[in-house]
Protein backbone atom coordinates (compact mmCIF):
# COMPACT_ATOMS: atom_id res chain seq x y z
CA UNK A 1 0.00 0.00 0.00
CA UNK A 2 1.47 3.31 -1.05
CA UNK A 3 0.48 6.45 0.73
CA UNK A 4 1.38 10.09 0.23
CA UNK A 5 2.18 11.85 3.49
CA UNK A 6 2.32 15.41 2.19
CA UNK A 7 0.49 17.71 -0.18
CA UNK A 8 1.98 19.09 -3.37
CA UNK A 9 3.96 22.33 -2.73
CA UNK A 10 4.26 21.76 1.01
CA UNK A 11 7.39 23.01 2.75
CA UNK A 12 9.33 20.00 4.01
CA UNK A 13 12.41 19.64 6.21
CA UNK A 14 15.30 17.14 5.99
CA UNK A 15 14.25 13.68 7.16
CA UNK A 16 10.54 14.29 6.70
CA UNK A 17 8.66 11.30 5.30
CA UNK A 18 7.06 12.22 1.98
CA UNK A 19 5.50 8.89 1.05
CA UNK A 20 5.47 5.25 1.99
CA UNK A 21 5.30 2.24 -0.30
CA UNK A 22 7.03 1.47 -3.57
CA UNK A 23 4.58 3.23 -5.86
CA UNK A 24 6.25 6.64 -5.67
CA UNK A 25 9.69 7.41 -7.06
CA UNK A 26 12.35 9.54 -5.39
CA UNK A 27 13.98 12.26 -7.49
CA UNK A 28 16.11 15.36 -6.74
CA UNK A 29 16.26 16.23 -3.03
CA UNK A 30 14.73 12.96 -1.82
CA UNK A 31 15.95 9.46 -1.00
CA UNK A 32 14.46 6.07 -0.32
CA UNK A 33 14.98 4.48 3.06
CA UNK A 34 13.34 1.04 3.30
CA UNK A 35 9.88 1.57 1.85
CA UNK A 36 9.75 5.28 2.76
CA UNK A 37 10.70 8.28 0.70
CA UNK A 38 12.31 11.02 2.75
CA UNK A 39 13.45 14.56 2.04
CA UNK A 40 17.14 15.32 2.26
CA UNK A 41 16.92 19.09 2.14
CA UNK A 42 14.66 21.98 3.01
CA UNK A 43 12.32 22.95 0.19
CA UNK A 44 8.99 22.70 -1.55
CA UNK A 45 7.76 19.26 -2.61
CA UNK A 46 6.76 18.83 -6.18
CA UNK A 47 4.72 15.82 -7.21
CA UNK A 48 4.89 15.03 -10.92
CA UNK A 49 2.84 11.93 -11.52
CA UNK A 50 4.54 9.36 -9.31
CA UNK A 51 7.82 11.27 -9.02
CA UNK A 52 8.60 13.23 -5.88
CA UNK A 53 11.18 15.98 -5.98
CA UNK A 54 12.18 18.95 -3.90
CA UNK A 55 12.70 22.49 -5.05
CA UNK A 56 15.28 23.99 -2.69
CA UNK A 57 14.50 27.29 -1.00
CA UNK A 58 18.06 28.15 -0.08
CA UNK A 59 21.64 27.08 -0.66
CA UNK A 60 24.97 27.89 -2.18
CA UNK A 61 25.41 28.24 -5.92
CA UNK A 62 26.66 25.10 -7.65
CA UNK A 63 28.50 26.05 -10.84
CA UNK A 64 27.07 24.57 -14.05
CA UNK A 65 28.35 24.66 -17.59
CA UNK A 66 26.55 27.25 -19.71
CA UNK A 67 25.40 29.46 -16.85
CA UNK A 68 25.77 33.20 -17.23
CA UNK A 69 27.10 34.61 -13.99
CA UNK A 70 28.40 37.85 -12.54
CA UNK A 71 31.90 37.34 -11.14
CA UNK A 72 34.47 39.52 -9.43
CA UNK A 73 38.11 39.45 -10.48
CA UNK A 74 40.15 38.55 -7.42
CA UNK A 75 43.62 37.76 -8.71
CA UNK A 76 45.77 38.19 -11.79
CA UNK A 77 47.54 35.03 -12.85
CA UNK A 78 50.42 34.34 -15.21
CA UNK A 79 48.11 33.94 -18.18
CA UNK A 80 44.70 35.03 -17.12
CA UNK A 81 42.50 36.06 -14.24
CA UNK A 82 40.97 34.33 -11.24
CA UNK A 83 37.39 35.32 -10.48
CA UNK A 84 35.11 34.81 -7.50
CA UNK A 85 31.76 33.29 -8.46
CA UNK A 86 29.99 33.69 -5.10
CA UNK A 87 30.35 29.97 -4.49
CA UNK A 88 32.81 27.57 -2.90
CA UNK A 89 35.15 27.58 -5.88
CA UNK A 90 36.84 30.27 -7.95
CA UNK A 91 37.02 30.30 -11.73
CA UNK A 92 39.84 30.96 -14.17
CA UNK A 93 39.50 33.24 -17.18
CA UNK A 94 42.23 32.40 -19.65
CA UNK A 95 43.84 34.93 -22.02
CA UNK A 96 42.33 33.27 -25.06
CA UNK A 97 38.78 33.57 -23.74
CA UNK A 98 39.16 37.08 -22.33
CA UNK A 99 38.96 39.26 -25.39
CA UNK A 100 38.94 39.16 -29.17
CA UNK A 101 42.05 41.36 -29.25
CA UNK A 102 45.49 39.87 -29.53
CA UNK A 103 47.30 40.19 -26.23
CA UNK A 104 51.08 40.59 -26.53
CA UNK A 105 53.36 38.38 -24.55
CA UNK A 106 54.19 40.05 -21.28
CA UNK A 107 51.40 42.62 -21.65
CA UNK A 108 49.92 44.27 -18.58
CA UNK A 109 46.80 42.23 -17.87
CA UNK A 110 45.30 44.90 -15.58
CA UNK A 111 44.71 46.85 -18.77
CA UNK A 112 41.84 44.44 -19.53
CA UNK A 113 40.50 43.50 -16.11
CA UNK A 114 41.62 45.02 -12.84
CA UNK A 115 41.34 43.29 -9.46
CA UNK A 116 37.91 44.09 -8.03
CA UNK A 117 36.18 44.49 -11.41
CA UNK A 118 32.85 42.80 -11.88
CA UNK A 119 32.33 40.91 -15.13
CA UNK A 120 29.36 39.27 -16.80
CA UNK A 121 30.72 35.95 -17.95
CA UNK A 122 29.77 32.47 -19.01
CA UNK A 123 30.89 29.17 -17.49
CA UNK A 124 32.39 27.00 -20.24
CA UNK A 125 33.61 24.03 -18.23
CA UNK A 126 33.38 22.53 -14.75
CA UNK A 127 35.50 19.51 -13.81
CA UNK A 128 34.70 16.89 -11.18
CA UNK A 129 37.11 18.61 -8.80
CA UNK A 130 35.25 21.85 -9.45
CA UNK A 131 37.93 23.60 -11.46
CA UNK A 132 35.98 26.16 -13.44
CA UNK A 133 36.74 27.85 -16.77
CA UNK A 134 34.90 30.98 -17.78
CA UNK A 135 34.79 32.93 -21.02
CA UNK A 136 34.00 36.46 -22.13
CA UNK A 137 33.17 35.41 -25.69
CA UNK A 138 29.47 35.70 -26.31
CA UNK A 139 26.71 38.26 -26.62
CA UNK A 140 26.30 40.50 -23.60
CA UNK A 141 29.44 39.30 -21.83
CA UNK A 142 31.41 42.31 -20.67
CA UNK A 143 32.95 44.20 -17.84
CA UNK A 144 30.45 46.04 -15.64
CA UNK A 145 30.87 49.76 -15.09
CA UNK A 146 28.93 51.70 -12.46
CA UNK A 147 25.67 50.78 -10.81
CA UNK A 148 25.39 48.60 -7.77
CA UNK A 149 25.91 44.93 -7.03
CA UNK A 150 23.59 43.03 -4.71
CA UNK A 151 23.71 39.42 -3.62
CA UNK A 152 20.60 37.27 -3.58
CA UNK A 153 19.91 33.64 -2.86
CA UNK A 154 20.99 31.66 -5.97
CA UNK A 155 17.90 29.45 -5.68
CA UNK A 156 15.66 32.53 -5.99
CA UNK A 157 17.22 33.64 -9.28
CA UNK A 158 14.66 31.85 -11.49
CA UNK A 159 11.88 33.63 -9.59
CA UNK A 160 13.56 37.02 -9.93
CA UNK A 161 13.94 36.48 -13.67
CA UNK A 162 10.45 35.03 -14.11
CA UNK A 163 9.02 33.10 -17.03
CA UNK A 164 10.89 34.26 -20.15
CA UNK A 165 12.31 37.12 -18.14
CA UNK A 166 8.87 38.55 -17.36
CA UNK A 167 9.65 39.57 -13.78
CA UNK A 168 12.98 41.20 -14.44
CA UNK A 169 11.64 43.09 -17.45
CA UNK A 170 8.79 44.36 -15.30
CA UNK A 171 11.34 45.77 -12.86
CA UNK A 172 13.39 47.19 -15.71
CA UNK A 173 10.52 49.02 -17.40
CA UNK A 174 8.91 50.35 -14.26
CA UNK A 175 12.10 51.64 -12.62
CA UNK A 176 14.01 52.56 -15.81
CA UNK A 177 17.05 50.69 -14.48
CA UNK A 178 19.35 48.28 -16.21
CA UNK A 179 19.14 45.02 -14.29
CA UNK A 180 21.15 41.87 -14.79
CA UNK A 181 20.87 38.79 -12.60
CA UNK A 182 23.61 36.15 -12.72
CA UNK A 183 22.73 32.52 -12.08
CA UNK A 184 25.14 32.62 -9.14
CA UNK A 185 22.97 35.04 -7.20
CA UNK A 186 24.85 38.24 -7.96
CA UNK A 187 22.70 40.99 -9.47
CA UNK A 188 23.66 44.29 -11.01
CA UNK A 189 21.41 47.34 -11.08
CA UNK A 190 22.14 50.63 -12.79
CA UNK A 191 19.96 53.70 -13.09
CA UNK A 192 18.91 56.81 -11.21
CA UNK A 193 19.92 56.46 -7.53
CA UNK A 194 16.31 56.56 -6.36
CA UNK A 195 15.09 53.99 -8.83
CA UNK A 196 18.10 51.79 -8.09
CA UNK A 197 16.83 51.61 -4.52
CA UNK A 198 13.31 50.72 -5.66
CA UNK A 199 14.68 47.99 -7.93
CA UNK A 200 16.82 46.59 -5.11
CA UNK A 201 13.87 46.57 -2.71
CA UNK A 202 11.73 44.87 -5.34
CA UNK A 203 14.33 42.12 -5.74
CA UNK A 204 14.55 41.69 -1.96
CA UNK A 205 10.76 41.39 -1.84
CA UNK A 206 10.75 38.67 -4.49
CA UNK A 207 13.48 36.87 -2.57
CA UNK A 208 11.52 36.77 0.68
CA UNK A 209 8.08 36.04 -0.81
CA UNK A 210 8.87 33.77 -3.74
CA UNK A 211 7.27 30.70 -2.17
CA UNK A 212 3.87 32.40 -1.69
CA UNK A 213 1.40 32.15 -4.57
CA UNK A 214 0.40 35.23 -6.56
CA UNK A 215 3.87 36.79 -6.68
CA UNK A 216 3.57 38.48 -10.07
CA UNK A 217 0.41 40.36 -9.15
CA UNK A 218 1.86 41.47 -5.83
CA UNK A 219 5.07 42.66 -7.45
CA UNK A 220 3.13 44.56 -10.09
CA UNK A 221 1.14 46.38 -7.44
CA UNK A 222 4.27 47.03 -5.37
CA UNK A 223 6.16 48.55 -8.29
CA UNK A 224 3.16 50.64 -9.34
CA UNK A 225 2.85 52.02 -5.80
CA UNK A 226 6.55 52.78 -5.54
CA UNK A 227 7.11 54.34 -8.94
CA UNK A 228 3.66 55.83 -9.50
CA UNK A 229 3.69 54.43 -13.03
CA UNK A 230 1.11 52.08 -14.45
CA UNK A 231 2.45 48.78 -15.75
CA UNK A 232 0.70 47.59 -18.87
CA UNK A 233 -0.48 44.03 -18.85
CA UNK A 234 1.36 41.57 -20.97
CA UNK A 235 -0.72 38.74 -22.36
CA UNK A 236 -2.94 37.28 -19.62
CA UNK A 237 -1.18 34.66 -17.56
CA UNK A 238 -2.73 31.95 -15.46
CA UNK A 239 0.34 30.59 -13.72
CA UNK A 240 1.35 32.84 -10.88
CA UNK A 241 2.08 30.01 -8.51
CA UNK A 242 5.35 29.49 -6.72
CA UNK A 243 8.12 27.79 -8.67
Amino acid sequence: MSELKIKNKDVVVPGEILATGMEFLPSYGTYREGDKIQANRLGLVQLEGKVLKIIPLSGTYIPKRGDTVIAQVEEILMSGWRADLNCAYSAVLGLKDATSEFIQKGADLTHYFQIGDYIVTKIVNVTTQNLIDISMKGPGLKRIRGGRIIKVDPYKVPRIIGKQGSMVSMIKTSTDCRVMVGQNGVAWIQGEPKSEIIAEEAIRKIESESHIAGLTDRMKKYLEDKTGKKIEDREPRSDTNAV
Binding site: V13, I17, R41, L57, G59, A88, S90, Q129, N130, I212
Partner: protein, 237 residues
Protein backbone atom coordinates in the same frame (compact mmCIF):
# COMPACT_ATOMS: atom_id res chain seq x y z
CA UNK B 1 17.40 14.64 52.31
CA UNK B 2 16.35 12.30 49.50
CA UNK B 3 15.69 13.69 46.03
CA UNK B 4 11.90 13.64 45.69
CA UNK B 5 11.11 16.73 43.65
CA UNK B 6 12.89 18.72 40.95
CA UNK B 7 14.03 22.20 42.00
CA UNK B 8 11.92 23.91 39.30
CA UNK B 9 8.84 21.79 39.99
CA UNK B 10 8.87 19.82 36.72
CA UNK B 11 7.88 16.17 36.61
CA UNK B 12 10.87 13.85 36.16
CA UNK B 13 10.58 13.29 32.42
CA UNK B 14 9.39 16.76 31.51
CA UNK B 15 11.46 19.17 29.42
CA UNK B 16 11.98 22.79 30.27
CA UNK B 17 10.15 25.31 28.08
CA UNK B 18 11.41 24.90 24.50
CA UNK B 19 11.41 27.67 21.90
CA UNK B 20 13.05 27.95 18.50
CA UNK B 21 13.33 30.34 15.59
CA UNK B 22 15.02 30.04 12.20
CA UNK B 23 16.67 32.76 10.13
CA UNK B 24 17.74 35.04 12.97
CA UNK B 25 21.11 36.08 11.50
CA UNK B 26 20.80 37.88 8.17
CA UNK B 27 24.40 37.65 6.98
CA UNK B 28 24.67 33.92 7.49
CA UNK B 29 23.61 31.38 4.87
CA UNK B 30 21.49 29.70 7.54
CA UNK B 31 20.85 30.44 11.18
CA UNK B 32 18.74 29.39 14.13
CA UNK B 33 18.01 30.24 17.73
CA UNK B 34 17.09 27.58 20.27
CA UNK B 35 16.11 28.06 23.88
CA UNK B 36 15.47 25.38 26.46
CA UNK B 37 14.71 26.77 29.90
CA UNK B 38 17.50 29.25 30.65
CA UNK B 39 19.92 27.73 28.16
CA UNK B 40 19.99 29.67 24.93
CA UNK B 41 21.97 28.99 21.75
CA UNK B 42 22.46 30.78 18.45
CA UNK B 43 23.85 28.90 15.48
CA UNK B 44 25.03 30.42 12.21
CA UNK B 45 26.14 28.49 9.13
CA UNK B 46 28.49 29.88 6.48
CA UNK B 47 29.43 28.07 3.32
CA UNK B 48 30.15 25.70 1.67
CA UNK B 49 33.11 27.95 0.99
CA UNK B 50 36.78 27.78 0.16
CA UNK B 51 38.87 26.16 2.87
CA UNK B 52 42.24 27.39 4.02
CA UNK B 53 44.79 26.31 5.20
CA UNK B 54 45.07 24.01 2.24
CA UNK B 55 46.31 20.97 4.17
CA UNK B 56 42.90 20.74 5.84
CA UNK B 57 41.14 20.28 2.51
CA UNK B 58 39.68 16.92 1.64
CA UNK B 59 39.54 16.29 -2.11
CA UNK B 60 36.82 13.65 -1.68
CA UNK B 61 34.23 15.67 0.20
CA UNK B 62 33.65 18.91 2.03
CA UNK B 63 34.31 19.11 5.74
CA UNK B 64 32.26 20.45 8.62
CA UNK B 65 33.81 22.76 11.18
CA UNK B 66 31.90 23.47 14.38
CA UNK B 67 32.79 26.25 16.74
CA UNK B 68 31.25 26.30 20.21
CA UNK B 69 31.56 29.40 22.35
CA UNK B 70 30.06 30.54 25.64
CA UNK B 71 29.79 34.31 25.97
CA UNK B 72 31.59 35.92 28.95
CA UNK B 73 28.36 36.80 30.76
CA UNK B 74 26.57 33.53 30.01
CA UNK B 75 27.19 31.67 33.26
CA UNK B 76 25.63 32.16 36.66
CA UNK B 77 27.57 35.29 37.57
CA UNK B 78 31.26 34.60 37.23
CA UNK B 79 32.73 36.05 34.09
CA UNK B 80 33.75 33.31 31.68
CA UNK B 81 37.10 33.99 30.12
CA UNK B 82 36.44 34.67 26.45
CA UNK B 83 38.02 32.67 23.68
CA UNK B 84 38.71 29.01 23.30
CA UNK B 85 39.57 26.62 26.09
CA UNK B 86 39.88 22.87 26.42
CA UNK B 87 36.22 22.43 27.26
CA UNK B 88 35.07 24.46 24.24
CA UNK B 89 37.47 22.58 22.00
CA UNK B 90 36.10 19.22 23.11
CA UNK B 91 32.50 20.33 22.72
CA UNK B 92 33.21 21.75 19.26
CA UNK B 93 34.65 18.37 18.36
CA UNK B 94 31.73 16.28 19.64
CA UNK B 95 29.28 18.70 18.00
CA UNK B 96 31.03 18.15 14.70
CA UNK B 97 30.92 14.39 15.18
CA UNK B 98 27.25 14.53 16.15
CA UNK B 99 26.25 16.45 13.02
CA UNK B 100 28.53 14.87 10.42
CA UNK B 101 26.63 11.56 9.98
CA UNK B 102 23.58 13.26 8.44
CA UNK B 103 25.41 15.65 6.13
CA UNK B 104 26.20 14.90 2.50
CA UNK B 105 29.05 17.16 1.41
CA UNK B 106 30.32 14.99 -1.46
CA UNK B 107 29.29 17.71 -3.92
CA UNK B 108 31.72 20.13 -2.29
CA UNK B 109 35.24 18.65 -2.37
CA UNK B 110 37.93 20.84 -0.77
CA UNK B 111 35.29 23.12 0.73
CA UNK B 112 34.18 23.75 4.29
CA UNK B 113 30.89 24.38 6.06
CA UNK B 114 31.36 26.47 9.16
CA UNK B 115 28.92 26.31 12.05
CA UNK B 116 29.28 28.90 14.77
CA UNK B 117 27.43 28.29 18.01
CA UNK B 118 27.21 31.10 20.54
CA UNK B 119 25.59 30.78 23.93
CA UNK B 120 24.38 34.02 25.51
CA UNK B 121 22.96 32.26 28.54
CA UNK B 122 23.56 28.78 29.94
CA UNK B 123 21.95 26.60 32.59
CA UNK B 124 23.26 23.10 31.77
CA UNK B 125 22.66 21.22 28.53
CA UNK B 126 24.49 23.79 26.43
CA UNK B 127 26.11 21.35 24.00
CA UNK B 128 22.72 19.78 23.34
CA UNK B 129 21.12 23.18 22.75
CA UNK B 130 24.02 24.00 20.44
CA UNK B 131 23.63 20.82 18.39
CA UNK B 132 19.87 21.28 18.11
CA UNK B 133 20.29 24.87 16.91
CA UNK B 134 23.09 23.89 14.53
CA UNK B 135 20.95 21.19 12.88
CA UNK B 136 18.23 23.75 12.16
CA UNK B 137 20.76 26.26 10.85
CA UNK B 138 22.29 23.66 8.51
CA UNK B 139 18.86 22.80 7.12
CA UNK B 140 18.11 26.50 6.68
CA UNK B 141 21.38 26.91 4.78
CA UNK B 142 20.08 24.43 2.20
CA UNK B 143 22.70 21.80 2.91
CA UNK B 144 21.90 18.25 1.81
CA UNK B 145 21.27 16.21 4.94
CA UNK B 146 19.31 13.01 5.33
CA UNK B 147 17.74 14.01 8.63
CA UNK B 148 17.81 16.66 11.33
CA UNK B 149 19.61 16.04 14.61
CA UNK B 150 17.79 16.50 17.90
CA UNK B 151 19.65 16.59 21.15
CA UNK B 152 18.93 16.63 24.87
CA UNK B 153 20.66 15.73 28.12
CA UNK B 154 19.24 13.05 30.39
CA UNK B 155 20.58 11.68 33.62
CA UNK B 156 19.92 10.48 37.11
CA UNK B 157 19.88 12.05 40.51
CA UNK B 158 19.88 9.43 43.28
CA UNK B 159 17.25 6.85 42.19
CA UNK B 160 15.38 9.11 39.75
CA UNK B 161 15.87 9.23 35.99
CA UNK B 162 15.49 12.79 34.68
CA UNK B 163 15.17 14.41 31.28
CA UNK B 164 16.82 17.74 30.51
CA UNK B 165 18.78 18.44 33.69
CA UNK B 166 19.21 22.02 34.87
CA UNK B 167 22.37 23.18 36.59
CA UNK B 168 21.06 22.68 40.14
CA UNK B 169 20.35 19.03 39.36
CA UNK B 170 23.67 18.49 37.63
CA UNK B 171 25.44 19.92 40.69
CA UNK B 172 23.39 17.97 43.27
CA UNK B 173 25.72 17.01 46.08
CA UNK B 174 23.83 14.69 48.44
CA UNK B 175 23.87 11.61 46.25
CA UNK B 176 25.07 10.03 42.98
CA UNK B 177 24.43 12.02 39.80
CA UNK B 178 24.88 11.18 36.13
CA UNK B 179 24.60 13.62 33.25
CA UNK B 180 24.25 12.07 29.78
CA UNK B 181 24.14 14.36 26.73
CA UNK B 182 22.48 12.59 23.79
CA UNK B 183 21.90 13.38 20.14
CA UNK B 184 20.05 11.31 17.56
CA UNK B 185 18.47 11.14 14.13
CA UNK B 186 14.75 11.39 14.84
CA UNK B 187 13.66 9.21 11.93
CA UNK B 188 15.82 6.17 12.73
CA UNK B 189 16.64 6.81 16.40
CA UNK B 190 20.33 6.29 15.64
CA UNK B 191 22.49 7.95 18.26
CA UNK B 192 25.26 10.33 17.20
CA UNK B 193 26.28 11.70 20.60
CA UNK B 194 26.53 9.79 23.85
CA UNK B 195 28.68 11.09 26.65
CA UNK B 196 28.44 10.70 30.39
CA UNK B 197 29.65 12.45 33.47
CA UNK B 198 28.96 10.71 36.80
CA UNK B 199 27.95 7.20 37.75
CA UNK B 200 25.05 5.01 36.69
CA UNK B 201 24.15 1.32 36.50
CA UNK B 202 23.02 -0.58 33.41
CA UNK B 203 19.26 -0.59 34.10
CA UNK B 204 19.17 3.10 34.81
CA UNK B 205 21.27 3.88 31.75
CA UNK B 206 18.89 1.93 29.52
CA UNK B 207 15.95 3.66 31.11
CA UNK B 208 17.49 7.10 30.65
CA UNK B 209 18.11 6.34 26.97
CA UNK B 210 14.40 5.58 26.57
CA UNK B 211 13.49 8.79 28.37
CA UNK B 212 15.98 10.66 26.18
CA UNK B 213 14.49 9.31 22.96
CA UNK B 214 11.04 10.44 23.97
CA UNK B 215 12.38 13.89 24.88
CA UNK B 216 14.28 14.21 21.60
CA UNK B 217 11.15 13.46 19.58
CA UNK B 218 9.51 16.37 21.37
CA UNK B 219 12.45 18.62 20.51
CA UNK B 220 12.30 17.43 16.91
CA UNK B 221 8.71 18.65 16.65
CA UNK B 222 9.80 22.11 17.75
CA UNK B 223 12.65 22.09 15.21
CA UNK B 224 10.37 21.12 12.33
CA UNK B 225 7.81 23.73 13.29
CA UNK B 226 10.44 26.47 13.53
CA UNK B 227 11.83 25.61 10.09
CA UNK B 228 8.38 25.65 8.52
CA UNK B 229 7.36 28.84 10.28
CA UNK B 230 10.12 30.71 8.49
CA UNK B 231 8.18 30.15 5.28
CA UNK B 232 4.87 31.15 6.81
CA UNK B 233 3.54 27.62 7.23
CA UNK B 234 1.22 27.34 10.19
CA UNK B 235 0.78 31.11 10.49
CA UNK B 236 -2.02 31.80 8.04
CA UNK B 237 -3.72 28.44 8.32
Amino acid sequence: MPFKKRPDGRSFEELRKVEAKVGVIKNAKGSAWFKIGDTEAYAAVYGPRNLFPKFMQNPKKGILRAHYNMLPFSGSGDRIRPGGNRRAKEISFVTQKALEPVLDLTKFPNAVVDVFIELPQTDAGSRCAGITAAAMALADAGIVMKDLISSVAVGRVEDKVLADLCYDEEAYEDGPVADIPLAMLPSTEEITLLQMDGEIDKDMLLKSLEVGKKAMHEIHKVQVQALKEKFGVGKNE
